[in-house]
């Protein structure tokens, strides 16, 4: 049998002509990065990998070099690293264009220690070694505006018109057709790409939408999450609308990205017990709360992320958990062998999905391996708790979160010193850039933040 040419090989899998392949992965800020190559180029490097400058882990959202730490040995004077595609993620993005997600690897075959997707993969493996498989889902919140992205840019991303009406609401079906048309186009594209979604609805703020992705393997969920964001952006471009995943795109409201997680062994949900949380669930809660202060820097990665943390407004403000308590940072859903799970409510919509998932998995694995004990659950409202309750508050500024992660020995073990040092330095850089390059900490929302975060990540 004669060998197929690269183009024929890919085309035969899809039964369509293929003109190009798009390589995809996130950088550290969660922006979806990549490049488009010919089928011949793809065939020549799909196993050995494609050279990417390590600059993708060294440039901030303003295109400045990020400084502040001593690079590890694989980073130097703009060395190359290898992006190796994961062929399980190969899809036909649109007629003639393939798309594949990859991971970053060093030349000696080790994973790049700060590669977002590889970090999730490593923690999944660590969990598997304990005998568990994780299933995760995410609620993606985003805000839509009527204007095109060109119009949004011209206005500095201010004074835009929420798509679907000026009022915030939840579950209202009386939304105008423009908003419905947009979401139906999005879900059609997700169906075509094999991304399983479960629901969508309007959210509490004007123009805000929530889209739920179905539970699946954590690496796959990360892939679906970043691709869903890309789909939502592309549909917005096509329809002359604007979409943003900024944590707080206007002064008035913010948006999150709740992660739901359950653990299974031999097909059985290990978070289920007939009378409430199982022992495994309690250990997972213990790990998640022990690491929550440090994990805040992954869950709330940008300056604007912290503007969401307002008591009695939705996001958690205390390091707390409770059964079916949505005012707490971790909500335990119990009592059902299928649906028992933990909802980690801290992340904002601007997270790097892979880092956020890695942080949650690190907490869970640590809790189980170290048999951590869950603190007493909060039965009351978890916002505005008095100090004498002993319930600590979530770090409410990026500098407090930097200090928390820097000093978190548990997360250092599970995420790696190299990543922690890198992330601490990069977030300190972000803080310094905000304050010294035009951000206003005393404004409800500064123009600097809109320029930096509205379109990316």
């Amino acid at each position: 049998m004669s060998e197929l040419t690269p183009s024929e090989s890919i085309s035969s899998a899809w039964k369509v002509p293929t003109k190009a392949i798009r390589l995809e992965a996130t950088g550290h800020d969660g922006s979806f990065l990549g490049k488009t190559i010919t089928p011949a180029k793809f065939a020549s490097g799909k196993e050995s990998g494609f050279a990417f400058a390590d600059i993708l882990f060294a440039i901030d959202l303003g295109d400045e070099f990020v400084f502040g730490d001593a690079f590890p040995d694989w980073r130097g004077n703009l060395y190359d690293i290898s992006m190796i595609p994961d062929m399980d993620t190969l899809v036909e993005w649109k007629p003639g264009l393939g798309a594949v997600i990859g991971d970053y690897w060093l030349r000696d075959g080790r994973p790049v220690p700060i590669c977002p997707r590889n970090m999730v993969r490593r923690l999944v493996e660590r969990l598997r070694a304990l005998g568990y498989t994780a299933t995760v889902a995410v609620e993606i919140e985003t805000t839509l505006f009527e204007e095109s992205v060109q119009q949004a840019r011209a206005r500095g991303y201010r004074d835009l018109t929420p798509l679907g009406g000026d009022t915030g609401a939840t579950y209202h079906l009386a939304r105008s057709k423009d908003w419905v048309d947009y979401m139906e186009a999005v879900t059609d594209r997700l169906d075509e790409l094999g991304i399983t979604w479960e629901a969508w609805t309007d959210e509490a703020a004007a123009g805000q939408t929530e889209l739920n992705l179905a539970p699946t393997d954590p690496v796959a969920l990360g892939d679906f999450w970043v691709r869903t964001k890309q789909v939502m952006r592309e549909v917005a471009f096509e329809q002359d609308r604007t979409v943003t995943f900024m944590a707080k795109p206007t002064a008035g409201f913010g948006q999150g990205a709740h992660i739901n997680l359950s653990l299974h062994r031999d097909g059985e949900n290990q978070f289920f017990a007939p009378d409430g949380p199982s022992e495994v669930m309690l250990q997972a809660v213990g790990g998640l709360l022990t690491t929550m202060a440090g994990n805040t820097l992954l869950s709330l990665p940008q300056i604007t992320s912290y503007r969401r943390l307002v008591d009695i407004s939705g996001p958690p403000t205390t390091i707390s958990w409770g059964v079916n308590n949505k005012t707490a940072a971790v909500r335990a859903i119990v009592g059902h062998p299928k649906y028992s799970r933990l909802e980690y409510r801290l992340p904002g919509s601007d997270v790097n999905p892979y880092y956020a998932l890695a942080g949650v998995l690190a907490g869970v694995v640590a809790g189980i391996e170290r048999r951590m004990q869950a603190p007493p659950q909060v039965d009351d409202m978890a916002w505005c708790l008095p100090d004498d309750t002993g319930v600590e508050r979530v770090p409410d500024s990026i500098t407090k979160a930097i200090a928390a992660l820097d000093g978190d020995e548990v997360l250092r073990e599970y995420l790696g010193d190299e990543f922690v040092d890198f992330w601490v330095a990069s977030r300190r850089w972000e803080w310094m850039e905000f304050h010294t390059k035009g951000g206003d900490p005393y404004a409800e929302l500064s123009a600097w933040e809109s320029r930096r975060y509205f379109e990316f990540p």
């Binding site: 070099f65 400084f67 502040g68 001593a70 690079f71 500024s397 500098t399 300190r428 304050h435 951000g439």
Partner: protein, 219 residues
């Protein structure tokens, strides 16, 4: 030869220094003002400014929203972020040019002049600054083993060397440029735009940036 003057501790340094308090979780401008005023106190520079009774000075960046309030009260100094009440005096300065005024001060002229002069205290010699820089930044993870500073003055280059080991970082500039970076009066990356030259890897520029934050902002 022109050389940055060394400031000998004055009489004020021999009595209890004025405490300089800053916000918890302070912004960079607050940290910069606090660190600079602490240096002034440490050097015994203009103690009469700190002994003044009561007064508030708003300090604003000329080109960014950065702002802070300096409050003098019975020998103690407090620096807080933002300006939320009318101040007795206002200074609008270039934070990247050692608090150079960009417009005339507003309000109490004596108070404004005193605080400005306190912020613009003369720098120590580049050698003394380098020595202190070396002490303060040694603990930063990944900092090079050896620092070589070369001052290019009118009498030719002078070199100072600190530490030992395989990784070396070399900085070359005027005595004033070196003193500026080593004291934190100037930010390393800004100084590179104005003539300071460095020899080392990209990684070393990165970690030296952290060192610059340490001496400039105490971060």
């Amino acid at each position: 030869m022109t050389e940055t003057p060394t400031i000998a501790p004055g009489p004020a340094a021999q009595r209890a220094p004025a405490p300089i308090e800053i916000d918890d979780d302070a912004t960079p401008i607050v940290r910069l003002l606090g660190r600079t005023l602490r240096d002034a106190v440490r050097l015994g520079h203009l103690p009469e400014v700190f002994d003044r009774g009561i007064g508030t000075v708003a300090v604003r960046s000329h080109n960014t929203p950065q702002a802070a309030t300096v409050t003098l009260c019975d020998g103690a100094v407090t620096v807080t972020g933002g300006v939320f009440a009318p101040a007795d005096a206002t200074l609008v300065v270039d934070l990247e040019a050692r608090f150079a005024l960009t417009q005339d001060p507003d309000g109490d002229a004596d108070l404004a002049d005193g605080v400005l002069r306190a912020l613009q205290h003369p720098l120590p010699s580049w050698q003394a600054a380098a020595e202190r820089f070396w002490e303060v930044t040694r603990g930063i993870r990944g900092i090079p083993d050896v620092l070589i500073a070369v001052a290019q003055g009118p009498d030719g280059p002078q070199e100072a060397r600190f530490g030992s080991g395989p990784t070396t970082y070399r900085m070359v500039g005027t005595p004033d440029a070196l003193a500026g970076v080593f004291t934190g009066a100037d930010y390393l990356l800004t100084s590179l735009d104005s003539g300071l030259r460095v020899q080392g890897t990209l990684s070393q520029v990165s970690v030296m940036t952290a060192a610059s934050w340490k001496v400039r902002f105490d971060v």
